[in-house]
Symmetry: C2
Subunit: 285 residues, 2 copies
DNA sequence: CGCAGCCTTGACCGTTTTCAATGAGGGTGG
DNA sequence: CCACCCTCATTGAAAACGGTCAAGGCTGCG
């Protein structure tokens, strides 16, 4: 499964403290965790540091199994994971991807079982934190206040973004949105937003976008011919990011924008708006 | 449309003000909140009860605006809401629905702004709780321990379910999945899972499923002709729920089921299933 | 009663899926 | 070291599916 990824090295050492010896390879401090997941300020506010084990996951192996008992949350340190569910026929539906800075396992809290498998796409590492311990930490460490809530909120938002990505448009627009999203996430963790290597197969992308993998392939060549990007296997370079962004806005169903509902009740709430101007009228035409 | 409702605005400010006379219509106790959202046990454990304002939202009006400042979480008491985003062309993408027992607003915690509009599909009511107050409650009231985490987890899971629903299949299978999901949620809140009335228009369903509304209409008649259900406008009766469930499993791409990956790293996670030691073995081969 | 949305149905056309064939890259074992 | 196998990616061609356009029925409301 390929680790010809020279570029991975730096990302590994990225946030951590001194990764000098083997011992630290497999541990991760609370402060470095907070640095990645809650910002520098929170990390600096940690007085008494603590350490968590880090689990290395070889490419293709599972970090979490669908239906597995929930006990831990995971924080991606390096590498890439995919979330997936299998229906009983064995068809695998990819539901998302996680890179450094993403939390894994939230979905398990409610019912005590994870609801998706989480599989490494390359050799990866994730800090392992028992949920119970994390809750104790939230109570004890001021800098941790609301940590889980913010992580959870991010997850929810990411889910909504993913939904919006998948819905409502043609194949190449979907792919454009996907690539822009990957670009953005790459940039967020300090990599290039213009040049990057996709760590997932075409088939994974296709599953995620709800398309046939051949269609994804064709969409790639279409975007390349459109001059938006160059593709060489999984290596992507976005050469016209603005063009791609405006292309991505294209929605097929432009006809429906009229839906001029006169709105029966009116009582929306000014209060939710900070500023008076507000884009308020969006929802309710 | 706009808010000629300047007067109503105060209801947003939450906790405090004039909830005096209309009284119980517009208030909701902490214990009843917990009953719906965390179970009877939690509700019974409340010693000192408290009350939250309940906001009535007429059908078609917005409870929350995309981009609105995050201050409150909402707990649906009655009625139905849809989550939606508008792209700049004005096309409305529906991202989900909420009924009694669902929480609204989680997505706002991370960045201080809501990321979707939330619009009532019929006359509805939602309890309004300031986030800050809720956090205080979690600290003070034992029965509230972990309340937000569980709610958040449910949201995450719901998002994943929605994603899975939308992806990867033909139109009528999507509709079948949607209806089964609605059925299940209806049953969860004590209504019939066999007969129910959809509160959203075909267009909303279509947007949610990423289809044209005509296609949704055709899918309804297809399922009806298949003998799975009867449809009269928005009233649904599922007559063959097992049949519908097995139909829903049909994935187009059945060819891919072969993908018999022997899963290279297998070491996966005995840890996740296994006992307490769990984290010890992070050094999975 | 008549208007306005909503839902349904039909026909046509474009996109995507499916089936099939080919080539590139990597790993394994002779 | 090379042949072989396997997976991944790409491309072509035919067929199916869903989208778009258009028309008509249904329901609720003024």
């Amino acid at each position: 499964m390929v680790c010809r990824t020279a570029d991975r090295a730096d990302s590994t050492t990225g946030a951590g403290p001194s990764v000098e010896n083997a011992a630290l390879e497999h541990r991760c401090s609370l402060s470095s965790l907070l640095r990645s997941f809650a910002g520098e300020a929170a990390a600096a506010a940690v007085l008494e540091d603590r350490y968590f084990p880090v689990r290395p996951v070889p490419g293709g192996a599972a970090l979490v199994h669908e239906e597995g008992t929930f006990r831990h949350l995971f924080f991606v340190q390096s590498g890439t994971f995919k979330f997936a569910r299998c229906d009983e026929e064995g068809y695998e539906q990819v539901l998302g991807f996680a890179v450094r800075g993403d939390m894994i396992g939230m979905d398990g809290i409610a019912n005590g079982r994870y609801t998706t498998s989480v599989i490494a796409l390359e050799d990866s590492r994730a800090a392992v934190v028992a949920f119970s311990e994390l809750r104790g930490l939230e109570a004890d460490v001021p800098a941790m206040q609301g940590f889980l809530h913010r992580c959870a909120s991010r997850e929810v938002r990411r889910g909504l973004d993913a939904l919006q990505l998948v819905c409502a448009v043609g194949a190449d627009v979907r792919l454009a949105r996907f690539l822009l999203q990957m670009s953005e996430r790459n940039a967020l963790i300090g990599h290039s937003g213009r040049r990057f290597v996709l760590r997932m197969s075409r088939r994974d992308i296709a599953s995620y976008l709800g398309l046939a993998h051949e269609t994804v392939s064709r969409a790639f060549t279409a975007l390349a011919q459109g001059g938006y990007l160059t593709v060489s296997q999984r290596a992507i370079e976005i050469v016209d990011i603005e063009g791609l962004q405006s292309f991505q806005r294209l929605t097929r169903r432009t006809a429906e924008l009229d839906a001029p509902r006169p709105l029966p009740g009116m009582a929306t709430d000014a209060a939710d708006f900070a500023s008076p101007s507000a884009l308020g009228d969006c929802a309710v035409a």
